[in-house]
C-alpha cells in the first residue's frame, strides 16, 4: 500500500471510531449528567435559552437525591409551581421539603408554560415504572389537560418514549395519532422531526453528551437570552427569575385584560341553568375526561396530586357576584372531575391574600409557604407508594 493510501485509510477509519467514542461518552453521560445544586429550572437551564434538557438529565436530578426508604416527590406543572415570583432561596418547593421532612425528597421539575401532564410529569411516570416510590404534584386550571406531545415540551415525551421510559398506554398513542391526523402539514412535519431526532438519540446518545458539555464547559448555540456571552457554560448561569416587588407595586398590569383572563377560567365551562344559577357545560368536561383517560396511565393516578390554582383575590373580588358564583362552581366541579379519575384534585389559593401573590396567578414567598403547607398535607394523604 502506498503511503498516501495509508493516510487516507487511517483518516477514513478514524471517523467512525471518533463517532463511536462520542456515542459511548453520550451513553455514559445519560447516567450521570445533571445540573449541580439544582433548585428549579431557571432561564439558563431551560428551552427558553435553547437549553433543551434531555429526559435523562431530569431523571438524574431526581435519582441523585433518592435513597432507599425515601419517596420522591416530583413537582411538575407550570410557572406557578416553578416558583416564578419567588427568589431562589424562597422557592416554595424548598419549603415543601422542610414540611415533608427526610422521608421525602422534593424535586422541582416544573417548566414555565407546561401542561399538567407534560415534561416533569413524565419523569414521575418513568420512575414509577422503574418501581421507585413516587408522588407527582402538578397544577392546572379548570378545563386544561392537553397532550404530552405537540407543545413546547413535547420533545421530552418522544425522548422518554423512544428510550423505553414510559408505561405502555395505547390510549395515549391513539389519541396523539388521531390528533396528528387532523393537524396541519406543518405540525405533522414538526412532530415527524421530533420523532426522528428522538429515535436517533436513542441510538447515538448525542443529547446527553452535548448538553453536558454545554452545561459544564461551553455552550455552542447563539441565543438572544444569553447573548452576548452565549458560549458561557450553563453551570455559571444565575437564577434570575422575577421576584415579587413590594405589595404596593404589584397588580399594575392592565386591569381589564387580567380580569378578562380571570373570567376566562370559567366562562366557557358553565352556562346559566335558567334559575339564576350555573350548571357545568357537558362537552368541555367530556373533553377533559377523555384527555385524562388518554394521557395519564391508570397506574400513575393514585400517585398524583393535581392542584387547581386559583387567581389572586385582587382580581377575583372584582368579578360580579354572578361571575364569582360561576368561578366557584367550575373550580369545584373540575376538582371533583379529577377525583372521579382517581387523582387527588385540590383547589388552592381560595384563602390566600393579595400579599401571597406576585401577580394574577404566580405566588410570592408568603404564598409559596402556604402552598407548601397545603401540598405537604395532600402528599401525606396519599396512600404510601
Amino acid at each position: 500500500m502506498t503511503f498516501p493510501k495509508l493516510k487516507a485509510l487511517v483518516l477514513l477509519l478514524a471517523i467512525p471510531i471518533g463517532f463511536a467514542l462520542a456515542v459511548r461518552l453520550g451513553r455514559e453521560a445519560e447516567g450521570y449528567a445533571k445540573p449541580q445544586k439544582f433548585i428549579r429550572l431557571h432561564y439558563g437551564i431551560s428551552p427558553e435559552s435553547l437549553y433543551y434538557l434531555p429526559f435523562s438529565m431530569l431523571e438524574n436530578v431526581a435519582l441523585a437525591r433518592w435513597a432507599p426508604g425515601k419517596t420522591i416527590v416530583i413537582v411538575a406543572g407550570n410557572s406557578i409551581l416553578n416558583g416564578y415570583g419567588q427568589a431562589e432561596p424562597d422557592v416554595w418547593t424548598l419549603r415543601l421539603q422542610e414540611e415533608l421532612g427526610d422521608r421525602y425528597v422534593v424535586v422541582n421539575l416544573a417548566f414555565r408554560g407546561a401542561l399538567p401532564y407534560e415534561a416533569g410529569a413524565l419523569v414521575a411516570e418513568s420512575l414509577l415504572r422503574r418501581n421507585y416510590p413516587v408522588v407527582l404534584v402538578s397544577n392546572t386550571s379548570p378545563g386544561t389537560v392537553g397532550r404530552v406531545a405537540g407543545n413546547a415540551y413535547g420533545y421530552l415525551y418522544y425522548d422518554a418514549l423512544y428510550k423505553g421510559r414510559l408505561f405502555n398506554h395505547p390510549a395515549r398513542d391513539a389519541n396523539i395519532a388521531e390528533w396528528e391526523a387532523t393537524a396541519t402539514p406543518a405540525v405533522r412535519a414538526e412532530q415527524d422531526e421530533l420523532r426522528r431526532a428522538a429515535r436517533l438519540d436513542a441510538n447515538f446518545h448525542f443529547q446527553a453528551l452535548w448538553h453536558h458539555v454545554g452545561y459544564r464547559h461551553l455552550f455552542t448555540t447563539w441565543n438572544s437570552r444569553s447573548s452576548p456571552q452565549f458560549w458561557q457554560p450553563r453551570a455559571s448561569a444565575k437564577d434570575d427569575l422575577p421576584v415579587a416587588p413590594p405589595l404596593a407595586e404589584r397588580f399594575r398590569t392592565e386591569l381589564a385584560s387580567e380580569l378578562a383572563i380571570t373570567r376566562g377560567f370559567s366562562v366557557n365551562l358553565a352556562e346559566p341553568d335558567g334559575s339564576g344559577s350555573w350548571r357545568i357545560l357537558g362537552p368541555p368536561a367530556e373533553i377533559v375526561s377523555d384527555l385524562i383517560d388518554d394521557m395519564i396511565p391508570p397506574k400513575m393516578r393514585r400517585h398524583m396530586v393535581m392542584l387547581l390554582t386559583q387567581n389572586a383575590p385582587f382580581y377575583r373580588t372584582r368579578l360580579t357576584p354572578t361571575e364569582l358564583a360561576r368561578d366557584n362552581l367550575v373550580f369545584s366541579a373540575y376538582e371533583q372531575h379529577w377525583r372521579k379519575h382517581g387523582i387527588a384534585g385540590h383547589i388552592v389559593g381560595l384563602d390566600f391574600t393579595d400579599e401571597d401573590y406576585y401577580d394574577r396567578s404566580h405566588l410570592a414567598a408568603t404564598g409559596g409557604r402556604k402552598l407548601a403547607r397545603l401540598t405537604a398535607d395532600y402528599v401525606r394523604q396519599l396512600a404510601p407508594p
Partner: protein
C-alpha cells in the same frame, strides 16, 4: 527512527486526530440538527 519515518508517523497521527475530530463533529451535528428550533440552515453558530 529516520527523519522521513518520523514525518510519516506524524502524518498518520495527524490523520488519526483529524478523523477522530470529524467523528465527534458528526455526533455534535446530530445534536445541532435535532434541536427543536429553526431549521439548521438558519441557526447562527
Amino acid at each position: 527512527m529516520t527523519p522521513s519515518r518520523l514525518r510519516q508517523c506524524g502524518a498518520l497521527t495527524a490523520r488519526l486526530a483529524i478523523g477522530l475530530t470529524i467523528g465527534f463533529l458528526l455526533h455534535y451535528l446530530l445534536y445541532r440538527l435535532s434541536l427543536p428550533v429553526q431549521p439548521f440552515i438558519y441557526v447562527a453558530f
